[in-house]
Amino acid sequence: MRNALVLYFQYVGVSIRGQLQYRASFVMQSIGEFWAHVTEFIAIWALFHRFGSIGGWSLPEVALLYGLVNTQWAITDMIGRGFDAFDTMVKSGDFDRVLLRPRATTLQLAGLEFTLRRLGRLAQGLAILVWALVALNILWTPGKVALFVLAVAGGVCLFYGLLVVQATLCFWTVESLEIMNVFTYGGLETARYPVSIYRPNFRRFFTAVVPLACVTYFPALALLGRADPLGSTLVFQYAAPLAGLIFLLVSLQVWKFGVRHYQSTGS
């Protein structure tokens, strides 16, 4: 395990050195990503300017959800590129090289690329998160700090799991990956607003199947000290982010199954 971590960080080092060879390009792309997403938030701000609140949530409260989910996704996007771009790897046959090396396939793919330019996006997510936390005047307790960290980690696990599932699908088809964008990008859009505003079936889907609400909405309620119109308990809100971890563990099993399928079909 320790050895695997050491190797992972070596992979990351290699990836970063490779990207820093094109320094100007990295700086431009980071700034570009930062501003592209700031513009996006301005749109939300405009919405609140007009309507005041959404489903009883004020702008800083929604900004907490927005900042949380954007930070989670930005981190995942930064470390999960190997799975996100897996279709090209299968098409080019480079996955065979991964199988030819005496290491776990997941470790090799996770280490394949550490996408530095996503720092721009991460900075934007964090900036909004910090702004929201300051504006909200949350009374921080050690429990809330732990919950906050757990929520970010759970969200990263969940999005990472989605990328793993998306990559696994490449073993069967490289043509219909768009469907996974419904969950990743669609989920990203959805989780920016409190799930209480959505229809029940939609809500249940994002709680039980792809548990995005468990890493955004429920922990946010606990952080804000808001009562849940859906009736969730405080204990549930604290435990909910674990759903992200469970989702990732299940995805990794699905991945193993996919690799076995690949080894029996060779395509």
Partner: protein
């Protein structure tokens, strides 16, 4: 104990078929027709430690399928396969730690990294101890003469340089089995010779078992003590180069350079297989007409500038084997 044992290996693939054109593509979406391809159809062989085996066959014959099975990245439908007593696909990680694989068409080095850094990373991937690594690395660097290019990023290397670095990279963990897939493809003459010389030395001095696939018959003639020919998933021939020739034809070639380029050469025991200006190639069977007898007859009847006798090129032999399986 043999290094590799393969018995009755079979593997079929389902290949989706599509009618040509736009309409075909649309129909393909709704209903796919599949064609079964027998990539391996009862392949058996066994390879002893330290052998240098050429594995040849036309594209799509089953070469890479065999190698993928041997490498543990493809599971066959049926049959037995053991490499050093291990079933490759059952224990992938332990298995691949002891093999080296070089693809001539693709590098395993990190594109943006200096060569030496790729080597260091491979050391960690394969968990080679520091002392073993240093010894193997320095030896390979000296053998392949890559010292001057160790600090160059891989993307800036020429194909020949890159191939030498790839060979070194595949051997840093001192595998007992090396698989080379077209290692000389696209290389200039000097690089080809360097690669061949290295493979020979490696096989002789370190007793590494080598399986080589190639379309370059000069590689085979220069390197391999044993050649296996595969086509349509079946092994057609397995033996020394001499066996391979003998199995196909006893024919030899008499090549004569005529003084008069307009002259025609005829002999009852020989056929003209090639005519290139004043150079005529005659094929004959030495059991029907002894070589000295044919030379005597040809020189008696024609004005000859020069002549020599050789075996038909190995390409010719292989081409005949392929043709025979088709009919």
């Amino acid at each position: 104990m043999p290094h590799i044992v393969v018995e009755n290996l079979a593997k079929t693939f389902q290949v989706a078929e599509r009618d040509p054109g736009v309409w075909g593509a649309i129909r393909g979406l709704a209903k796919r027709r599949y064609r079964t391809v027998h990539a391996l159809d009862g392949v058996s062989f066994s390879i002893e430690p330290g052998e240098l085996v050429g594995y040849i066959g036309p594209n799509g014959a089953g070469k890479s399928t065999t190698v993928k099975v041997l490498a543990g990245i493809l599971v066959p439908d049926s049959g037995r396969c053991e490499v050093q007593g291990r079933v490759p696909w059952k224990d992938r990680i332990a298995h691949v730690a002891d093999i080296g694989v070089v693809f001539g068409q693709r590098t395993q080095l990190w594109w943006d990294l200096p060569v030496i850094e790729s080597f260091d990373l491979l050391r960690d991937i394969y968990r080679v101890s520091k002392s073993d690594y240093t010894r193997a690395r320095d030896e390979l660097i000296a053998m392949l003469d890559i010292e001057p290019i160790l600090d160059v990023p891989v993307r800036q290397l020429s194909l020949g340089q890159r191939m030498r670095c790839d060979l070194a990279a595949s051997l840093l963990h001192s595998p007992s089995l090396l698989y080379l897939d077209e290692p000389t493809i696209g290389l200039d003459a000097v690089s080809k010779l360097a690669v061949r010389e290295f493979i020979t030395r490696l096989n002789r001095t370190r007793q590494v078992t080598v399986i080589l696939t190639t379309h370059d018959m000069d590689d085979i003639e220069a390197l391999c003590t044993r050649v296996m020919v595969i086509n349509e998933g079946k092994i057609l021939s397995d033996g020394t180069l001499a066996d391979l020739r003998a199995g196909v034809t006893k024919e030899r070639w008499l090549i004569v350079d005529l003084v008069n380029g307009e002259d025609t050469v005829t002999d009852s025991a020989a056929n003209v297989v090639r005519r290139d200006g004043a150079r005529v190639t005659l094929a004959f069977d030495p059991e029907r007409v002894p070589t000295p007898e044919l030379i005597r007859r040809v020189t008696a009847n024609h004005a000859i500038r020069d002549l020599f006798v050789e075996n038909p090129p190995i390409e010719e032999i292989i081409a005949r084997i392929y043709r025979e399986t088709k009919s």
